[in-house]
Symmetry: C2
Subunit: 109 residues, 2 copies
């Protein structure tokens, strides 16, 4: 089957580390911990062909970080902790139900 989508779910985790800035940043250490936790759970479930989690630069939700975005649906999560990763994997990536308690919503002007 030909498909536009290489991945059913493609998860980008901010690992941006600001230096000498008043603006908060998600942070490389915490971001990479999150990336590792996502990757491990996805691999443990044998889903790494169709679901990918990876690091990314700033996704511009710094004040609400650590930040994660899941495409193709474009669901952003904020204040994501290591303890939240299993729920995002099981509920959202596998069962297709975004985790509402962590979800960021945006008002377009």
């Amino acid at each position: 089957m030909e498909s536009n989508l290489k991945y059913d779910k493609h998860v980008f985790i901010c690992t941006n580390q600001r230096v000498n800035s008043e603006r908060p940043s998600c942070g490389e250490a915490h971001g990479l911990e999150l990336v590792g936790a996502f990757k491990k759970l996805i691999k443990d479930r044998g889903l790494q062909i169709n679901i990918r989690a990876q690091k990314a630069g700033c996704i511009e939700t710094c004040e609400l970080g650590p930040s994660v975005v899941v495409y193709p649906e474009g669901v952003f999560y904020g204040k994501v902790q290591l303890s939240d990763v299993a729920e995002i994997v099981e509920e959202h990536l596998i069962n297709n139900k975004p985790v509402e308690r962590l979800r960021l919503r945006f008002v377009k002007t």
Copy 2:
């Protein structure tokens, strides 16, 4: 209007640099040049609120890199050069017509 999508188009550009590996990588220098070119054109057109281009880690199309993916549609591009950026911005990001000559297609098994 509340929307799931923070960005109408969210462009992730691989800046992964492999060291001591036989596998090719998109490369940090070229990747960051692409990021800069996308950002400049998007800003020049005043579109930076609704269109974002940013760096990302490996998107697993290394042999066809430099690699770019545009969400929410999940269109992957390969062998993207600086000279291709204007066409992707104008045709795809603004006019919503993916640039077929650069597009990667995937067969799901």
